[in-house]
Amino acid sequence: MIEIDSKCTGCSRCVPVCPFGVMHIVDKKAQVGEGCTLCGACVQVCSLEAVRITREEGPVDLSAHKGLWVVAQTLPLSRKGAKPRLRPVTHELLSAGRGLADGLKEELCAVLIGENAEGLCAELASYGADKVYLVEDAVLADYNTDTYAAALIALIAKHKPGVVLFGATCQGRDLAPRVAAEIHAGLTADCTGLSLKEGHLLQTRPAFGGNIMADILCTRKRPQMATVRPNVLKKAVPDPLRKAELVCEKIHIDEKMARVKVLERKLDAGHPGRKISEAQVVVSGGRGMRDKERFKVLEELAELLGGAVGASRAAVDMGLKPKSHQVGQSGTTVSPKLYMACGISGAIQHIVGMRSSDVIVAVNKDPNAAIFNVAKYGIVGDLHDILPKLVSLLKNSR
């Protein structure tokens, strides 16, 4: 419940900060209208501590739930019967999960669903898994919402994990909410950070288009579930000597459970190193690139640096690059070793998609561009003069 007590003077400071616009001053006292989500923004600004949110905390036995799970994801099979490969976000989740599991003094477990997947167990172990739950079935060769959800729900009911993490890929974001809905578990979407708070998982995520960060807790229910944005958490160095206990789970999944049939699948062309989400170097252009012709210098630069070409939303809207190259809140999040932002002003929507890059170099002629706030190296000048010169310097240095 949210309560306003008599200390309230109607100063109205809480009115504009309400993300949902439900705070009003009536008769010189704050009043909460319908639509309050108890987000607590008003509590933070009230210097008189006149706004209080009280949550009903019933005694819940959470101790029955133990272990931190990572739901492994694999890349789509190139052909029937091919060996599955792990999606990089799985490595990231295990790497981060390791530290969390140690903090909780619980096991880190990987859940692997598929066909012919046993060969991946060693890789899962090398990134920190103590245990691998393996569910293998011919029906599970390809991802399907219904069959995978059924397998996972069953597994969770049986082993009662404390935490279940998914990569916030299309697949993870398709599967996780379905499972959470069924088991009445808390699920936090698209997290960019995970940590522990008093034995609970503290999940950090951007909201309102990246304008704001929120820390989310789930203190009364188990498991605590989260999808985690790829390319944000740091991948650990794998330890090939690490071993994990393999637990093969016999879960019967009926073929008829799969209610959505795939008629046709088209995978994006291009070799993976040049996909912006996986490239080590991303050279991005924004509105300042002006036109397609002048954008080409970035392709050349990316080629020379062995990287991929990205674009800001403005550049995509201008038709300089297809949407698949868009970096940012409504595009792809990247965290390469080098991010070069050329002619990008640095709107918040863009920044949230690239700020975790190791080294950011920004080229912009406006010295006040927001992009310089996140750049390790800022280059103030006309990129149409600078970049061609850089290209020839790079060519000469080879």
Binding site: S12, R13, V15, P16, I25, V26, N368
Partner: protein
Amino acid sequence: MTGLDSIARGLMLDSLRDYAKRRLPYEELRRLDRENEFPADVLKELYDPEILGIHLLLIPQEYGGLGGSTFDIYRVCEALAHIDLGVATSVFATFLGSDPIRVGGTEEQRRFWLGKIAKERLLAAYGATEPDAGSDLVALSTRAAHVVKNGKIAGYRITGNKQWISNGGVADLAVILALAPGGPSWFVVEKGTEGFSANAHEDKHGIRLSNTCALALDDVFVPAENLIGGVEGQGLSQAQAVFGYTRLMVAAFGLGAGWEALETAIRYSRQRIQSGGPLSQKQGYMLKLIVPHAARLEAARAFIEDTAHRLDAGKHGLQTEGSIAKLAATEAGNRAAEDAIQALGGYGYTKDFPVEKIKRDVKITCIYEGTSEMMEMTVCRGRWQEHLKSRGTYYEEQAAALDRLHASCPTVGADSAALALRALNKILEECRLQRLTRHQHVTMRLGEYIAQAETCAAFCRAASADHYSETVRFDAQTWQALCRIHARETAADICLKGAKLVLGAGAMNPGFADALGLGAILAKQAGALEDQELAMKKLAESFRSR
């Protein structure tokens, strides 16, 4: 008029803004402005009931329209002015051209002509002004002579010239004010009628997207049923009857264009860095070029809305109120646009930024539908009567009401507003005692003070309300600060300028200076800077840079 609810209004405004964003980006407006081009296709789309159907709002439901209220139409006018005043003027000309029919037409005429405008998406024009008869319609020289057939009046032959007619060259029909044997009367004249022609499109300072022409009527025959109302001699009262309403719409233009300029300046001020920080944080800049305009425009808004609600509640006329609204809003808009150029510095002086165009455009709002000077006369004339009739209690009673308001809501500056009204009352009374209104200058200045005082009072009432109008985009703290700023300014202005006026024109009567309450007014200035700084911060927060 019942009109729409706030949700429907909001949806319409969203649709209108979305249309403008797609169809009329600044580069396109700039081109049309440069080439002095009337965007006929845009007007067609604005009238297309599948795209927008904007003209339907002014036509009552029983004639195939949507029956918008005054408040609805004020909102649409304001939104149009945010887009482009030329386009707004063209839409407004149809509103205006259909008004004599709506107000003075017979049931049959209304059904026929309004139904036709609704269904056939006709552009209309309002033909009152003449080369030698501007805001003063009494000097009318266009004549309408009887055409008698079989002993009955079968029609009229109209001869004369009309000047500055919006939509003149593009309208499908025009209403023409002409002197018939029975007195001034309105006639509907359709495009293509023999002898009816439009001169070349004027080369104007602003609103160049709007088509403005002189009209020539050379022995133009119209049938008797085109005489609006069916009775001669009703023309002036029909024209007068809508002034309260039409001037309110021009007020909305001043408000919208003024805010558009101010918004551009505020957004710019957040980006432009000068000596280490954005201009939006520089007191010397914001408190001079931004804050006072926001206060004046919002005061004008409060007055416009008050008048719109009264008209919608069935009040007739409200000519003085319409004139106050127009004077306050268009002058505030004009000044805001002027300072917006200054606020953008060199950029503001170029055509790369829209403020230069807004400044040229908004000037017309101080001229058409009655110049600011006409408004000052009308306002003074109207309120002078009230002052005399009430034996000097008209403003005293309003001041007392503001005192009561201050007691229940001390945060809107109603105390200053009460002082302003009392000072005004003393000045009016002094003018009466010394018979100073024989000087035209005095009357017109009084008109200005009256408009300022009444908008100030309206702002205080609006800012102290429990629920704000849907149009207020600021929180209570900001709006009340703007209200206090305006109230303080008004009290000081009226007291000092009024004293100067009276003393300049007449003699110093003992006790007059003391009665103005200068001491109290000056005491109320405490905290002015703090309020302005708050307003500056909030204004900058409310408009992010794009």
